[in-house]
């Protein structure tokens, strides 16, 4: 089994250098991600201005679209701009797993309890 805790080549972060040619490729990728982030933000703003909120199914679908677009943007920022995509997979897991676990759980209980509170309020008042 390959050992994960040893530095076997130049992959140590302080030695992370790259050549001029690799730089061209990396920069191209950066501009690509910039374009994607800009387009997604523009789409979000137009949707926010165009659709009026209401208690309809359409609006709740739009809300979920916002959330999905935001998560896509977040993924690009974390994996490409913050280079987490290039790190070892155990570092990736250490950073992402606790966050997803806690926030996912916290959001679930907070939002569902919030609605529950509202329901009991409107029932008993």
């Amino acid at each position: 089994m390959e050992r994960d805790d040893l530095i076997v080549n130049d992959s140590y972060s302080l030695n992370a250098h790259h050549s001029e040619e690799e730089g061209v490729k990396i920069r191209k990728n950066i501009w690509k991600v910039t374009l994607i982030l800009t387009i997604l933000t523009t789409v979000e703003v137009f949707m926010g201005v165009y659709f009026k909120r209401s208690e309809t199914f359409t609006w709740s679908m739009i809300k979920w679209t916002f959330i999905v677009l935001t998560l896509v943007k977040a993924a690009y920022i974390v994996l490409v701009f913050m280079h987490l995509g290039d790190e070892r997979s155990n570092l990736k897991k250490v950073v992402l797993a606790p966050y997803m676990l806690f926030i996912g759980y916290l959001l679930f209980i907070a939002i569902s309890e919030g609605f529950g509170h509202l329901m009991s309020f409107s029932t008993f008042h």
């Binding site: 050992r3 994960d4 805790d5 040893l6 530095i7 076997v8 080549n9 130049d10 992959s11 140590y12 972060s13 302080l14 030695n15 992370a16 250098h17 790259h18 050549s19 001029e20 730089g23 990396i26 950066i30 910039t34 800009t38 933000t41 979000e44 703003v45 949707m47 926010g48 201005v49 009026k52 909120r53 916002f66 959330i67 677009l69 935001t70 977040a74 920022i77 974390v78 490409v80 701009f81 913050m82 280079h83 790190e87 070892r88 570092l91 950073v95 606790p98 966050y99 806690f102 926030i103 916290l106 959001l107 907070a110 939002i111 309890e113 919030g114 609605f115 509170h117 509202l118 309020f121």
Partner: protein
């Protein structure tokens, strides 16, 4: 021999045990750990916002109705200013990642140039946020609460049966004079004219504002305008409870004070992160100019502050969605 590092790395760079399980330096990993904990703080704040909003029995203010002003311009531009702020922050994140890339090529002038642009972007964002706060605090006309039930017809013919406690909104010309008038300023007085009331300010900057129209549901759904004698009916049913802009005690945007409080706390906390980021970026920028990283033969410090800067951008992406869009 298996289990031996093939490349010798000096003890100062490695952890105490002489190994580096994540193949990253100690500083970089601690930056990641800090960001995870900081992200949990912001996650907690936005979750609290979601909880209060989900459990609120009153209508919650809508982003595109509250944030629709542009500096120096009349008229309505929903979300354009916030979109511009978001774009500025994304662009400064891009210049940061370009600085990191230049660092990996040991290109000192590239690092300096891109760091400078990142700092400028950060300062622009801070300035925009200052304007946004100022606009939010000053408000756009103010509101008053009805003291009795009243039924009015809006300009487009809709009939509204309003009850005691509902909010009515003034336009910014009238609200601008109503605030000193309520505070008992001696140079502002209320005058009954042929078709309504007007507020008159005498003295050096003398001017007057007529009660042309009042607005219903301004921040919570599609607004309706009420003018003429119908507006007078609303004005005469006013209570002593007025709100102008927002502060820590009341706000014109919603019945809930929590809305203004969350705005101040979440965007303020984020703005403080941006401010710290700009300061840290300036320090690293100066170190880069002085050639500190050139002598070290690596620019990992730029990468570490870059992580923090991207994180600030990342938080804003979520604040933008959950505070302004949803």
């Amino acid at each position: 021999m298996g289990g031996e590092a093939s490349k010798a790395i000096s003890k100062e760079e490695l952890w105490g045990g002489g190994q580096s399980p994540f193949s990253v330096s100690y500083g970089k990993m601690m930056m990641w750990y800090f960001l995870v904990s900081d992200a949990l703080t912001f996650g907690g704040l936005l979750t609290a916002y979601g909880f209060v909003r989900a459990s609120s029995e009153d209508a919650w203010p809508i982003g595109e109705q509250v944030f629709r002003a542009l500096p120096g311009l009349d008229g309505q531009y929903p979300l354009i200013y916030v979109a511009l702020m978001t774009f500025i922050l994304i662009v400064s994140s891009v210049t940061m990642v370009l600085a990191v890339e230049a660092g990996h090529r040991n290109d000192k002038s590239g690092v300096v140039r891109w760091m400078a642009l990142t700092i400028i972007g950060g300062i622009f964002f801070l300035g925009s946020q200052a304007w946004e706060w100022s606009h939010f605090i000053h408000g756009s006309g103010g509101s008053f609460i009805l003291a009795e039930n009243v039924s009015v017809t809006s300009d487009d013919g809709q009939v509204f049966d309003l009850t005691k406690g509902d909010a009515v909104y003034m336009d910014h010309h009238f609200g601008h004079l109503a605030e000193p008038w309520l505070e008992g300023a001696p140079n502002v007085s209320l005058v009954d004219s042929d078709h309504g009331v007007k507020l008159v300010e005498i003295g050096e900057h003398s001017h007057e504002a007529e009660l042309h129209a009042l607005t219903l549901n301004k921040y919570v759904e599609n607004e309706s305008h009420v003018s003429g004698d119908q507006a007078m009916k609303l004005w005469n049913a006013r209570s002593a409870s007025f709100a102008f802009g927002a502060n820590m005690h009341d706000n014109e945007y919603g019945i809930q004070q929590a809305y203004a409080n969350f705005f101040f706390f979440i965007t303020g906390f984020h703005g403080f992160h941006v401010f710290s980021g700009v300061v840290i970026n300036i320090i690293i920028f100066i170190m880069a100019i002085q050639g500190v990283f050139e002598r070290r033969k690596h620019y990992e410090m730029v990468e570490k502050v870059g992580l923090y800067w991207h994180f600030v951008d990342l938080v804003w992406v979520f604040v933008f969605t959950f505070f302004y869009l949803v």
